[in-house]
């Protein structure tokens, strides 16, 4: 009956401050049937709505098999996200989704994973890491590479330490600027690739972060002969409708909200590397 653009009411079940400007919300649709029917793939996103403020696209980070809650990790950067950060347990907001095409959880099966994250708490790739770690038999070796600007930006240290303890998982950290306690390296994320013994045909690259960093990773992985169709990127563009109608998220012929936000490089290649496209 209702058009897919009208949000549904959701309730904050739990909230957690990760850093002063990063927080996680556990949400549940108040309509129990709708919550039970809610299905998604890691890498997809919801539109979260605050009355009078507007809607913003936010990736889903919970596990798709957890039917009870929908988790988001959000950075406060402006009016909507700041106010989402003020929500308390029991508060109500609007939610519609899931939208878009998520990570290639099936296409990547049987391959080694190189998951590269630039910047802070990049939600889309974290959702894929958690997904793959719970289903390790489906994937090969998992290389997790995290780059941050400053060492003090690094969050979820315990989570990375935990991931490191899994068999067939390695974790590599780097910062543009380190400090004395920084456990990782200093420099670009690409510096580790020589040590990963990448088998190009059996590797899927999964990445999100600033386009400059993704560009460096793409260039490096192509030189190592990883096929374009196995290099996956999560893209960000302005979004208002999330269903391929409002035109705002266009990237060449692609509607990022509907055809993405996850693309393989072959799909983006015609548009890649040009300012203002």
């Amino acid at each position: 009956m209702s058009y897919a653009l009208t949000p549904f009411e959701a309730e904050v079940i739990e909230r957690h401050d990760e850093t002063p400007d990063l927080f996680s919300l556990q949400l549940r649709l108040t309509d129990a049937t709708r919550q039970a029917q809610y299905r998604f793939v890691p890498g997809q996103f919801n539109m979260l709505y605050l009355p009078g403020m507007g809607e913003v696209p936010i990736s889903i980070v919970s596990d798709p098999e957890d039917r009870h809650v929908i988790n988001h990790t959000i950075r406060k950067v402006g009016s909507v996200t700041d106010n989402l950060g003020k929500l308390q347990v029991g508060d109500r907001l609007g939610l519609r989704g899931p939208y878009g095409r998520g990570w290639p959880i099936d296409a990547a099966e049987g391959t080694d994973l190189v998951v590269v994250t630039g910047g802070l708490g990049c939600a889309p790739s974290v959702s894929f890491i958690e997904y793959a770690l719970r289903r390790q038999s489906r994937y090969g070796h998992i290389h997790i590479i995290q780059g941050v600007k400053h060492a003090h930006d690094f969050i979820w240290r315990e989570r990375y330490e935990l991931w490191r303890t899994y068999p067939d998982v390695d974790v590599w950290l780097t910062a543009d600027t380190g400090d004395t306690l920084w456990p990782g390296k200093v420099g670009p994320v690409t510096q580790f690739f020589d040590q990963l013994s990448i088998a190009p045909q059996r590797t899927s690259v999964i990445m999100c972060g600033p386009e400059g960093m993704m560009n460096a990773v793409v260039r490096d992985m192509r030189q190592r002969n990883v096929p374009d169709t196995q290099i996956w990127l999560s893209m960000e563009r302005n979004m208002h409708c999330a269903i391929g109608s409002c035109g705002r998220c266009q990237l060449g012929a692609k509607f990022v909200c509907r055809d993405g936000p996850v693309f393989n490089f072959a799909e983006l290649a015609p548009y890649w590397g040009h300012k203002g496209v």
């Binding site: 403020m53 109500r92 409002c246 266009q250 012929a253």
Partner: protein, 377 residues
């Protein structure tokens, strides 16, 4: 074969009456503020009788002609788009209850059945494109669909082109060939009418008029052919997506920096542009909000804003988006280019930028002049 009937000029009001009797309020062309606009039409006397339009880059003027024709003008600034994809409308509302609960309710479009008289081939082709976007995509848009399904379209074959028209080059006109219920060709003595749908056949039958004769049909065809032959703008040989995407670094884009005002007029008048903004209106007590959508333009920096960055921050990048989308990437999205040759963006550009000229320039190899900065990359 369609049966062609002849309606004498002095009986045009009978057609209006027949449409009204079939239950349609009628919208038709009229002169308002020195432009042709579509508005409620009650009788033939309101039509732009003996009016022709003079259009050229950056210029639109109406003049009296020496004929008494009703449809000798070509296009006004808008035709069907504001009726189906309206400039602003409410999608849904939210109300916060005293206990904190949020209630959402969808708004519904509610346009009565409407007959529109005077639609041209370029605008019907544009409507077919918007149908693909709003009705036949993965999610059909109920607001658009409601209005679209209520339209009864009386289209006109153009016997005259403006200087800015190039529908022959896009293959969309001047003869009407898609989406019309009834089509009309105007001769000095009256109108040749053709019914293309069952409802239109009933309306034609109710007029009890005779068939058009062969000589009249020939004159109409000649008139349409002349309208096509008089057009002088053309497009680079297509398809254009690869060419335009490949021309991303063409030095010609930079010349737009000093010419294009990024006012967005071209996107507002273009019958196929579909971009939107979704905006919030909040009630005085703060408990109720309205979620509206309105027309938006890729010439607006906010269109490509993501936190901290405007992706298309520079003017030439925004012009490039418009032209590359309209004539290029549209092909992958909709199976054809997004231009139907109506010429509006040329006439209504305040500085007279002509899409056909800009296209020709960016689809040609860069000329190596002293100030174009040497060899292209």
């Amino acid at each position: 074969m369609y049966i062609s009937r002849f309606l004498p000029r002095e009986r045009f009001d009978d057609l209006i009456e027949a449409l009204r009797a079939a239950g349609y309020p009628i919208v038709g062309p009229q002169v308002h503020d020195q432009a042709i606009v579509f508005d409620a039409l009650n009788h033939a006397a309101q039509l732009p009788i003996g009016i022709v339009d003079e259009q050229s880059p950056g210029r639109y003027r109406l003049h009296a002609s020496d004929t008494n024709r009703y449809f000798d003008w070509t296009t006004g600034p808008q035709a069907l788009k504001p009726m189906t994809f309206v400039p602003r409308e409410t999608l849904w509302r939210s109300v916060r209850q005293p206990d904190g609960q949020l209630e959402f309710s969808a708004e519904h479009a509610d346009m009565p059945q409407t007959a529109v008289i005077g639609i041209r081939a370029c605008d019907l082709a544009a409507l077919a494109i918007q149908d693909r976007h709003f009705m036949h995509g993965p999610q059909s848009d109920p607001y658009y669909v409601q209005r679209r399904e209520r339209l009864f379209l009386v289209a006109v074959n153009c016997m005259r082109s403006s200087d800015t028209c190039f529908c022959a080059a896009t293959g969309d006109g001047p003869k009407v060939h898609t989406g019309q219920d009834l089509s009309l060709s105007e001769l000095d003595e009256g109108f040749i009418l053709e019914a293309h749908t069952g409802q239109a056949r009933e309306i034609l039958a109710s007029l009890s008029i005779g068939p058009a004769d062969d000589e009249q049909l020939d004159r109409a065809e000649t008139g349409i052919k002349q309208a096509a032959d008089n057009q002088r703008r053309s497009l680079p040989a297509g398809p254009l997506q690869e060419k335009l995407v490949g021309a991303v670094d063409h030095p010609h884009w930079q010349t737009l920096n000093d010419r294009c005002l990024t006012c967005g007029n071209c996107t507002a008048v273009c019958p196929t542009c579909f971009c939107q903004s979704h905006v919030e209106e909040i009630s005085l007590n703060g408990q109720e909000t309205r979620h509206d959508r309105q027309w938006e333009s890729c010439f607006n920096p906010d269109h490509s804003y993501i936190h901290g960055i405007v992706i298309r921050a520079e003017r030439p990048q925004r012009y490039r988006q418009w032209l590359t989308h309209k004539f290029g990437t549209w092909e992958e999205q909709f199976g054809r280019g997004g231009c139907t040759g109506c010429g509006r963006c040329i006439a209504w550009c305040p500085v007279g930028i002509d899409v056909t000229e800009e296209l020709a320039a960016v689809c040609s190899p860069p000329t190596l002049t002293a100030d174009s900065g040497g060899s292209p990359s």
